[in-house]
Amino acid sequence: MNRLVIRGARLLGAQAADLLVEDGVITEVGSVSVPRDADVLDADGLVALPGLVDLHVHLREPGREDAETIATGSAAAAAGGFTAVFAMANTNPVTDTAEAAERVHDLGHACGLTEVVPVGAVTKGLEGAELAELGLMARSRAKVRVFSDDGHCVHDARIMRRALEYVKPFGGVISQHAQDPRLAGREACCHEGEVSGRLGLPGWPGIAEESIVARDVMLARHTGSRVHVAHVSTAGTVEVLRWAKAQGIAVTAEVTPHHLVLTTDLLAGYDPVYKVNPPLRPAEDVEALREALVDGTIDAVATDHAPHARHDKEHAFVDAAFGMLGLETALSVVSDVLVQPGRLAWSDVARVMSTAPARIGGLSDQGQGLAVGSPAHVTLVDPDREVTVDAAASRSRSRNNPWHGRTLQGAVLATVFAGRVTHDVRNGAGTRRELTNATTSGADL
């Protein structure tokens, strides 16, 4: 039997306790006498959270293994405290069949650093025209429950309606990339406002998101289905969500760490590291998003981790790839901007970064409390540790890190996934302890 004792962690930031983990399950909580054959993970002074769950990442495999692989993305996820990530379908080939979904699932499983859950495409080839084999993906070994054409909006209202209806029997959810392509086309790359006007960059107006979200919540009401709004970026969307939730419509939403901090004026130097979709917005939107996360209008934080090869970011701004890294910095960002100022407690962080995303994504063995009988997915955080982000130190294969050089307070020091330590830097910032079990087969998970 594999035994691990996590000693002295403050559970959700409250009272300190020991956790005994046996074969991947928490079997004792409190003052644990360490069994002789157990490994001990000293977590004195650290905050223990249920393993973090990310509803929105791009792992680029298959197709762009030069930018990221399921292995490197999993390593970045573990370093960021994540024990489950939802891998978006916009790979090459697209995850629009059961076979493609199973392949992603199996590669993640073999890697064994985090649970890799494939997101299925809503439409074949992400083309927005015909439904992909949603049911077969749901029945597959990958048990797909989240469907998204992310990168593209499911723009056709009839297709969106059918998708919402169709996934009901198997508890699926449509995660919508809300971007009306007529209001914000392919070129749109900068929040439409004073900055885009001055810089002469094609604008991406907030209304292109808000109008789709407004339509989709009405479709969700009409169909009685669940809809999830990916990467909410504007105050207007927050208003729509608040109204919809008050009506009892089954809508959930996520916000990225970057939309909680970074603003559109960063684009003044035309540095494509800040090019992301949806674009960085003005400070008013950032504040509305923080407030919405605090009051529960937005359910979850999701990174939209989007690695890109360096040369794909070294084009002229309008031609450069959209997206930024996020897995390794997400917890630190949330800690720095919301926990340290006292707007979120650690129990709230557990909700928005673990419990809620696990529930939205239909993962029954993730996002549980740190209680007896729960799977041992645990993230250990030093709330006082200051980290200065270094893009070169990333586990990701890519370097498009907008947080490079910023100092953030709060850091993930260790991650336990199904009872195994998948990340551990307790011995000091930047030092990485080689884990003997991290590269072994995950077949026993």
Binding site: E194, L201, Y270, A316
Partner: protein
Amino acid sequence: MTRHLISSADLTRRDVEDILETAASMHDLQRREVKKVPTLRGRTVINFFFEDSTRTRSSFEIAGKWMSADTINLSAKGSSTSKGESLRDTAMTIDAMAVDALVIRHNASGACHQVAKWVRCSVINAGDGTHEHPTQALLDAYTLRTRLGDLDGRHVVIVGDLTHSRVFRSNVITLKTLGARVTVVAPPTLMPSGIAAWSEADGFATSWDLDAVLDGDDPVDAVMMLRVQRERMSGGFFPTPREYTVGYGLTRDRLDRLVARNEDVLVLHPGPMNRGLEIAPEAADAPQSVVLDQVSAGVAVRMAVLYHLLAGDDTPAPAATSPDASSAPTSRTTEGAAR
């Protein structure tokens, strides 16, 4: 002055005045039989045009040649894509040839900003997407000053497709730098986003009503008509050319009203003109039109920019070293009025 000319905002009033003063000397050179001066002998200037351009490229090319720089024209078609060479690789390749200046025209806003971060040579923005075109603003300022003198307090009206205009973006900066008052006019669909906050912060006026501006209390010293691309129609920016002309064209009637109030009013257009759309032939060819003066000033201003960016501090201005400098025409006003 800075090493690069990327944005009109890089230039202080002193910088602009120095350049325009040098440009005046250069302009005098243009009327000589032998136009070439040795100032930039041994320097290499590459005109890298990622977008078609006739007048700007030939203007830079002539400017470089008359300064005795080795000028080489390169063109690359269209925008880079993820499949093509990255902008950085292109820039580094040119830079590795140890050139002194890279004059860039690119269809993407900000391309010159990005290139300047990667290369050792001077970068001159010859128009980047819908962002800026600083040498155009300098030649417009040169043209205006030739006729009007000091621009402090002068009222310049810029009319047209502001959203897609790099000429507008650079001009509003340079004109404000020189103390002019600026009013920009366009239908709401061709006003850049955020113009309300922008104009308030930078101190210029905006209007949707051209007639109200032309007939208003504030007399107009110059109108600058911007080119309207017919393909904007398909973007739904305005319904028909006819309707655009009625609302925002410098028609014969509007010109007559302007001239009735101020005979010395100036009409500018960066070219190429759409006669009959944003400017009536009567306005384009009126005595008040300085469109060809702008072209002529373009070479002189670009020579001055090359001089200020590339010539060492100890290199005297060419006019001063020229053996027949004293015989060069001195009255710019006379020359301008002759057109």
